[in-house]
Amino acid sequence: MSNRDQVISKNELLRVEGLEVHFAARTGFLAALLSREKALVRAVDGVDFSLGKGEILCLAGESGSGKTTTGKAVLRLIEPTGGKIWFKGEDLLSLTRQKLRLFRQDAQIIFQDPYESLNPRQTVFATVAEPLEVNRICNSNAEKEERVIEALCDAGLNNPRELFLRYPHELSGGQRQRLAIAGALVLKPDFIMADEPVSMLDLSIRAGILKLMVDLRDLKGISYLFITHDLSLAWLVSDRIAVMYLGKIVELGSADAVIRQPLHPYTRALVSVIPVPKSISRRDKKLLKGETPDPVNIPVGCRFHPRCPQVKPRCREEEPCFREILPGHFGACHYL
């Protein structure tokens, strides 16, 4: 407990403790008939972190690590099956319906694919104005227009009036993602969960979107939970990085510390295979064997032990606790 308290900064916005999301796996007809026990998918299995005001925290991990599920649970788009979430000091899991509505204005989401997340039959104006209408925020059309223009400008779409009547298919990939960001900004949120916001975009356009997100943090103090599978991207934009493996955070620390001095064997392997844009620097790659196991059958003991290059007998029996190894740098491994 004491360890955890140290992570939490004084001006924290969000705090997550022991978050769990377990799903019942779909079983076949025969298994149901024989009333076999339903398998449990432990997508998120005890996650702790906190997010400060104006901080960018990155949840990084491979597919199946539970990073998106964690993000969605934090927004209560998926109901957690265990754990606690506090947002601005309030217990998020026991909010009244009315309070939850207000929370939904304060916490927004940006999805991965701007080709899928935008309604193709809605104009730019309608897309950005919709959240205002749903929440009955504006009293007049003039006010609504003003808010839409402001959001589009904030998202880096210049000449917003010219775009009002355009449809998503008339916009480029980068513009679409900016439109999605404008839709998130229009309610003036304090917190944005961005789920792989640039992974569908070309490299030459990525930087602009990332810069926009960082600038919004600097100007408006928006906090981000940034979800990505790309560690070099995480390092570039975030203040701190949490590396997830099979539903748990295995390492958490400042972006530079996690990438430059990774502690956990899993992070060390991941960092060693991050591509660098050079041809000579053939670094010493630590390739792991196999792929992430199925979250239905999480290994006993340390969940990374079957793939760990430094596995010892203790790892097969005892689950390591998540503890502070260096100041502000946490890891879950017996041998750190």
């Binding site: 491979e62 597919s63 480029s172 990939g173 980068g174 070309d202 490299l203 030459s204 356009i205 990525r206 930087a207 602009g208 979107i209 990332l210 810069k211 960082v214 599978h229 790309d230 560690l231 070099s232 991207l233 390092w235 570039l236 934009v237 972006a255 530079d256 990438i259 430059r260 392997a269 991941l270 960092v271 295979v273 991050i274 591509p275 660098v276 844009p277 050079k278 041809s279 000579i280 620097s281 053939r282 790659k285 390739l287 792991l288 792929e291 992430t292």
Partner: protein, 321 residues
């Protein structure tokens, strides 16, 4: 030369005109060599690959150019001849293995089919070869009777690789073979491709949007922009002395965890519409160093040093002065 392509041009016919997807593409590949074809989406890299093995959709046509594999000109080859060339001479690994494999057939059977048709093998011999191929791509041979959905993404990609090398082709084209995979699995698959290439002395063309993949696996690289190769050369040279402003911007946009932490400038604007590409240099509208000449005259490739070419007016001027 194992593979030689000269001034290949491929257009797509649409209702409102021709999409000039590939224009004057020239490539060459030696035995055992790996060439990276890099570009962003819609730069024409996949069209170039499909043109090589003539797997283009119906509305696309190779308008001109010469393609020869092991000295044999196939640019005029008819379908029957092409069928003999595909898989045996030149094979392709497609991007999404989930879409490229037939979901209702066992993976082993799908490879057996290739061997029966192209190598005229008996079922039994083909199955034995398939088991051998599974071992080469490091999959447990007992899984030949599994269906594609029983494999993970990385394993499916290995099956695709096994299929591609089944008939011992001289050239393998990998069209974004690792794009949908996690970093760790990507590294594993790339390592496997490297191993197979050096063992079998195959030529490999690796198509990717990811510069770093090229940096680590390819001997030479060709950078495509808006349907044209704008720079090509030995990987080391191109990475260390990128000559074209587009290549420079692309390399700068790539986060380098060994370097300084900063957000690079993005390239302004968007890639042009190839129905109606810009006049002159196709990059001039987005180029920070654009001159008057760039908008009216198309730059020709300039030789910088052995094997390193780039098409940019800035270079022409430098060489002249």
């Amino acid at each position: 030369m194992l593979l030689e392509v000269e001034n290949m041009t491929t257009y797509y016919k649409l209702k409102d005109g021709f999409v000039r997807a590939c224009e004057n593409i020239s490539l060459s590949l030696k035995q055992g060599e790996a060439l990276g074809l890099v570009g962003e989406s819609a730069s024409g890299k996949t069209t170039a690959a499909l043109s090589l093995i003539k797997l283009l959709p119906e509305n696309a046509k190779v308008m001109s150019g010469k393609i020869s594999i092991a000295g044999r000109d196939i640019s005029q080859a008819m379908e029957a001849e092409l069928r003999r060339i595909r898989w045996k001479e030149i094979a392709i690994i497609f991007q999404g293995a989930m879409n490229a494999l037939n979901p209702v057939r066992r993976v082993g059977d799908q490879i057996v089919e290739v061997l029966r048709i192209h190598e005229k093998m008996t079922d039994k011999a083909a199955l034995l070869r398939t088991i051998d191929l599974f071992e080469q791509v490091e999959i447990d041979p007992s899984r030949v009777r599994d269906y594609p959905h029983e494999f993970s993404g990385g394993m499916r990609q290995r099956v695709m690789i096994a299929m591609a090398i089944a008939c011992n082709p001289k050239v393998v084209i990998g069209d974004e073979p690792t794009t949908a995979l996690d970093v760790m699995v990507q590294a594993q698959v790339l390592q496997l491709l490297e191993k197979l290439r050096s063992k079998r002395r195959m030529g490999m063309i690796l198509i990717t949007h990811d510069l770093s993949v090229v940096g680590e696996t390819c001997d030479r690289v060709a950078v495509m922009y808006a349907g044209q190769i704008i720079e090509s050369g030995p990987t080391e040279r191109v990475f260390e002395n990128p000559a074209h402003p587009y290549t420079r911007a692309l390399i700068a946009a790539f986060p380098n965890i060994e370097g300084e932490r900063y957000l690079a400038q993005s390239i302004p604007g968007n890639p042009p519409n190839l129905l109606n590409p810009p006049s002159g240099c196709r990059f001039h509208e987005r180029c920070s160093e654009s001159m008057k000449l760039c908008s009216c005259q198309e730059p020709l490739p300039v030789k910088l040093d052995s094997g390193h070419f780039a098409s940019c007016h800035l270079l022409g001027r430098r060489v002249l002065s």
